[in-house]
């Protein structure tokens, strides 16, 4: 009997994957292990680093076409994104944007194998993923950004948001794509919500076949190198029509407004539902029966100056107002105890919220498209987390968040100044979707203002440490701490406002925030850059907060040929 030997991508290490796909003899690695750019933050926590920090950049040709493959090593720290690995990915994409702007078309391919943010570096991962997302949205305008999710880890966490932004996705049956991993959903929502030990169910929910059959992935391949190459070429030569899913806002929003999740929807039903062509667009959602009174809603009301929300989804407030003489759109995510999605009733960003943010940001872009003065957009950030739930994963909460990220990034690139006001919690995927794409970040110095990637309980579970050990590590590595003062040390904040009452703001507090927003607005107006590079240019970023991120980008530039 003839023996068929397949060249497996799944079974290969990240570096082998990149070289296997590229034409033989054409490729060279940028920032190889011999450059020794490892994570300073893992070493500081006594954790063994890897010489390339688990991110492999290989420049070469594929079928004769200039191609850069960025491949994530899933075996090292679960493919988690830290400062160095994140900067390698973001920095490479940023370099490709500059090359494309010069007319050098180079095709990017990202091979995903990642659990998302590396919890031991926490907020560095968050900042990196925002920068990666921003770069994908900009680069997509020049060349298709191809994502491959072969497995074994799959693509999770914040990195699933970046996968959702890719022009096209190639998956295998073994690959999985979801936002919150099954273990984390269980930790946050309980065993009845999702049993992570039920592997068959997990793959039926978020596996490659399900994502492909639901129209969320473009090509499903058997794990053999020629198949991946064929798939990549079919995207490049236009055989595969790009779906631009994150721009299909009306479709997905009405789909999720009319979904009934009172009883558990099976993966089979979900697949059929996601393939529905006709959806009912006239659905009224139940609003809270009592007045919502959270930090975020209070600030929204103060800044809106009596303007009612125009949003069709009660958990997202949207109003147009005037801030120091400048037209501005406010957006806040708030609790709604009547939310049809029971895992998103406390102000979390869920399926509805992500798509609703996308809708109203895109509406502002559309309304101002012929105007030279683009409306200021102000995300008011008080978000406890993304929604952790069975239905959220089944129906692709990652894509709802990608859609919000895409809308904000597109608004920024089209000239809308965006100033995020951190008045409460700014956590994880919720913050990535709502705030992190802003040109400038302003925060109130208050104990209610926290920036982080995961609850301490879940972070302890995943990294196999105690909560005490996590607190101890946070003293050495500020990116692991939750408080806004530590976040400031990373250099991404435009301003940290002192002496403002965050939880019970009065008109003086409002004036202080408004002044800071105006200051940020003017700073944006005097800056020609519409990307997120100002976060790397601040004094704090340069002197300490983002040293490694800056060095990585400089070295990519030096080694490029």
């Amino acid at each position: 009997m003839a023996q068929i030997i397949t060249e497996s991508l799944v079974e290969s290490l990240a570096r082998e994957r990149a070289f296997q796909l590229l034409d033989k003899g054409s490729a060279y690695e940028i920032l190889s292990p011999f450059d020794g750019l490892e994570s300073p933050h893992l070493v500081a926590q006594n954790i063994v680093p890897q010489f390339d920090d688990g991110m492999i950049i290989v420049n070469g040709t594929l079928n004769g076409q200039q191609t850069v493959i960025i491949s994530i090593e899933g075996n090292f720290q679960g493919g988690g994104i830290g400062e160095v690995s994140g900067a390698k990915l973001a920095g490479t994409l940023e370099k490709l944007i500059r090359e494309c702007e010069k007319g050098n078309k180079i095709n990017p391919i990202i091979i995903y194998d990642t659990g998302g943010v590396r919890l031991q570096e926490a907020n560095y991962g968050l900042l990196s993923i925002a920068e990666i997302s921003a770069a994908i949205v900009a680069l997509r305008e020049f060349v298709p950004v191809v994502g491959i999710i072969p497995g074994k880890v799959g693509s999770f966490g914040g990195m699933s948001l970046t996968a959702g932004l890719c022009s096209a996705l190639i998956m295998t049956r073994e690959g999985r794509l979801g936002m919150n991993g099954p273990e984390v959903v269980q930790q946050e929502a309980g065993l009845r919500e999702l049993d992570p030990r039920n592997k068959q169910l997990i793959w039926q929910m978020i596996g490659g076949a399900m994502r492909y059959e639901s129209g969320l992935a473009d090509i499903l391949v058997e794990d053999d190198i020629p198949n991946y190459k064929e798939a990549i070429l079919s995207i490049w030569n236009g055989e595969i029509q790009l779906k631009h899913r994150t721009k299909q806002v009306d479709y997905y929003l009405s789909l999720f407004k009319s979904l009934d999740v009172q009883e558990k929807v099976t993966p089979q039903q979900a697949k059929e539902y996601l393939n529905t062509n006709q959806v009912n667009v006239n659905i009224d959602l139940s609003a809270p029966t009592e007045a919502v009174n959270t930090t975020g809603s209070k600030w929204f009301e103060l800044l809106a100056n009596g303007q009612p929300s125009i949003s069709e989804v009660p958990s997202v407030l949207v109003a147009d107002t005037v801030i120091s003489g400048v037209k501005a759109r406010l957006i806040a995510v708030v609790p709604n105890p009547e939310n049809i999605y029971y895992r998103a009733r406390n102000g979390e960003v869920g399926l509805l919220e992500g798509w609703t943010i996308a809708k109203y940001v895109r509406q502002a872009i559309e309304e101002d498209k012929n105007s030279t003065e683009k409306r200021l957009i102000i995300p008011i950030v008080d978000v406890p987390s993304q929604a952790f739930g069975y239905h959220e994963e089944l129906f692709g909460i990652y894509l709802a968040c990608s859609a919000a990220v895409d809308a904000y990034a597109t608004a920024r690139l089209s000239g809308h100044p965006i100033v995020a006001a951190l008045v409460g919690n700014a956590i994880s995927g919720a913050f990535l979707s709502h705030g992190m794409q802003a040109n400038r970040l302003i925060a109130l110095n208050d104990d209610g203002v926290n920036v982080h990637v995961m609850s301490k309980k879940s972070a302890a579970l995943i990294t196999q440490r105690t909560i005490e050990e996590l607190d101890e590590a946070a003293k050495e590595v500020p990116s692991m701490a939750y408080d806004i003062g530590s976040f400031k040390k990373l250099g991404a904040l435009f301003k940290l406002l002192e002496g403002v009452n965050a939880k019970e703001p009065n008109s003086d507090d409002k004036d202080q925030l408004v002044n800071a927003i105006s200051e940020a607005y003017n700073d944006i107006k005097n800056d020609n850059n519409r990307d997120l590079s100002c976060r790397l240019k601040s004094d704090i970023a340069q002197s300490s907060g983002r040293k490694a991120s800056i060095q990585v980008r400089e070295m990519i530039e030096q080694q490029w040929r």
């Binding site: 290490l13 070289f19 490729a27 690695e29 011999f34 006594n46 680093p49 090292f76």
Partner: protein, 102 residues
């Protein structure tokens, strides 16, 4: 994390640098860089503490079989002595025969 350093006399130069392995569960990565100092220097960082004696034996055995003037750096994530020996042999193979990627 524990750091260990061993040094042995050597005479043969290595052809080219080599990198093998991954810092994944039960595995390790090894970086071999040629030197002209006539010694083999092995620098180890391991997440599993308290196994100095085992490491010493594994490295001594490797050096007794391979005469290489090189700086060898190891990042270990709980590899067994067998895996360590195989990876070291692989690293020498790559640096001698040049079967690095591409």
């Amino acid at each position: 994390m524990e750091k260990l350093i061993y040094s042995f006399p050597a005479s043969k130069t290595v052809e080219q640098p080599a990198h093998v392995g991954v810092v994944g569960s039960g595995d390790l990565e090894i970086l071999v860089e040629p030197t002209d100092e006539n010694k083999t220097v092995v620098e180890i960082r391991t997440g599993i503490t308290g196994f100095q004696d085992t490491w010493k034996k594994v490295i001594e055995r490797f050096v007794s079989q391979n005469d290489v003037s090189a700086r060898i750096r190891i990042n270990d994530f709980g590899a067994t002595p067998g895996v360590v020996s195989i990876r070291l042999a692989q690293a020498v193979e790559v640096s001698t025969n040049g079967t690095n990627h591409n």
